[in-house]
Amino acid sequence: MKHISLDINIAGIKMKNPVIAASGTFGYGLEYSQLIDINFFGAIVTKTITLEPRIGNPQPRIVEVASGMLNSIGLQNPGAKVFIEEKLPKLKGYGVPIIANISGSKEAEFVKLADLLKDMGLSGLELNISCPNVEHAGLFAQDADTTYKLVRKVRKVTSLPLIVKLTPNVTDITLIARASEDAGADAISLINTLIGMSIDIQTKMPKLANVIGGLSGPAVKPVALRMVYEVSKKVRIPVIGMGGIMTSEDSIEFLLAGASAVAIGTANFVNPNTCCEIIEGIKTYMKANSFNKISDITGKLK
């Protein structure tokens, strides 16, 4: 019997398996370490960091909907300084590649932050140009030109592996993915949340103080899977698939559709052991199907 290996190398980031903790759902990795062994993960993407601390949106920020949840956290985070001085040193103690997810409301903020983070021992940068929970006219990732320009500028200041995270709230996501690739991205992450809303008919008020929020969880999986399928056919760089993944079966669907790795978000809240179970499940599937490495699965949809 041949040796089965779950190792992957995404854009130069070496992971022992293709299962990543998605940004914003795993804090700075430390919270869950009281409960599970976070060394199991292929990589951990931090909660989005901005240059300055952000207090985020008013409460309520979370509402459950059918097979999913809406969140309007609004990128609450302690800012780059605290991240670098307090969070990162602890995170680096683990044997897991750490990918910092960064955002900003202006192009210049992304550039400055990428520059700040370039020699900090990070394994990669993920650009969150797709968070629906902050205010500006449209998301960066809703326009191909804007995306191209932003990624291009960030690319110039960092040699870290650069992952661009896209929003599903667009007419044609392949255009944005292509723009990212052309601008020098090393990988594409998708999807961020779908924009949604929920109303309390008794108070006649939106259930989220911010009115709209991001939909995640199993409800979005069919849309996420379709987008991974579309994008992976159009770009040469690897795609990290996410959106509603709860089980190893879900993960394998994303791999077959064209993803090189998967990220797990909302599922962590429901079952903190999801990622470990997924890793085991993928192994079992590989054995049963005589796959030796993850790239044997990626894009193998008939």
């Binding site: 919270e31 920020r61 979370i62």
Partner: protein
């Protein structure tokens, strides 16, 4: 602190009032570490609907048997109430910080103030307080006679129990805040001469807690409150459950310091810490 995700069999799940249930199961891991005021994050369904766990306080600990007391208000608690002895239950815990209930020898008198299902975590607190003192007062507020919870249990612990109902069907006709007022006003002078200090522990609906806050601020009584928030992770990772607290010294450097996570930094807070206008 170590947190566990345990899958156990339900020992008992019984109706204790019109819409409240008490469930028990055994978990040594949790039982031997948990503090009053901490909570569990409970999976109510095996399907994706409802998806998220539900936070429920620890109500009692006896040997390694954990008890929760919960009110059926929606789908999650509804599904929970349908489970029966022998069914599996999946809980994460212990979560949160819990009450700070170390009393200063004999000079502190605990008063437990519970409104509605807010009484749930206070019984476990009373269990632990009895190890330190015998002077526990429990104020229980309910909408009516049929909804009064745990009165016998508290009495068995030798607590002094007083009851209020909104319709006057039992105890005083009024709210639990009215009960508390009575404890504070006349006693206050008496206590002072004896050099005793009240220590209040409270849980209940927000309007009630707001009134408790006003009251205790007036008399400057040390009070801890257990709060609720919609939660996703329950562990401090998602930032879903933040609450605004009084200015933190660090807040100039990092203004997010003024916001605490109910799941991790709470659910129990010093009542003075909370910015009550913002809830």
């Amino acid at each position: 602190m170590k947190i566990f995700n345990v899958k156990k069999e339900i020992i008992e799940n019984k109706k204790v009032s019109a819409d409240c249930y008490k469930m028990t199961f055994e978990s040594k891991e949790i039982a031997c570490r948990v503090k009053p005021g901490q909570f569990l994050h409970i999976k109510c369904s095996d399907t994706y609907d409802p998806l998220l766990r539900r936070p429920i306080s620890i109500h009692s600990i006896k040997n390694n048997v954990i008890g929760i007391l919960y009110k059926v208000v929606g789908r999650g608690t509804g599904l929970l109430s349908k489970k029966t002895s022998g069914d599996p239950i999946d809980v994460i815990g212990p979560l949160g910080n819990g009450f700070d209930y170390q009393l200063l020898a004999n000079c502190q008198l605990p008063i437990l103030v519970g409104g509605g299902i807010g009484i749930a975590p206070l019984y476990f607190l009373a269990q632990r307080l009895t190890e330190q003192c015998s002077n526990i007062t429990v104020l229980i507020g309910a909408s009516n006679k049929c909804n009064i919870l745990c009165i016998d249990e508290f009495k068995k612990l030798d607590c002094k129990v007083k009851v209020s109902t909104d319709d006057g069907s039992d105890g005083i006709n009024g709210t639990v805040v009215d009960l508390l007022k009575k404890e504070l006003v006349p006693e206050n002078s008496k206590l002072k001469t004896q050099n005793l200090k009240l220590k209040i522990f409270t849980c209940g609906p927000v309007p009630m807690l707001r009134q408790v806050h006003q009251l205790v601020s007036k008399y400057n009584v040390s009070s801890q409150v257990s709060l609720e928030r919609q939660m996703a992770c329950g562990i401090g990772a998602c930032m879903g459950c933040t609450i605004k607290t009084q200015n933190h010294p660090e807040s100039l450097r990092d203004k997010t310091q003024n916001y605490k996570q109910v799941c991790k930094d709470g659910p129990v807070f010093d009542i003075k810490e909370i910015v009550w206008e913002d809830i």
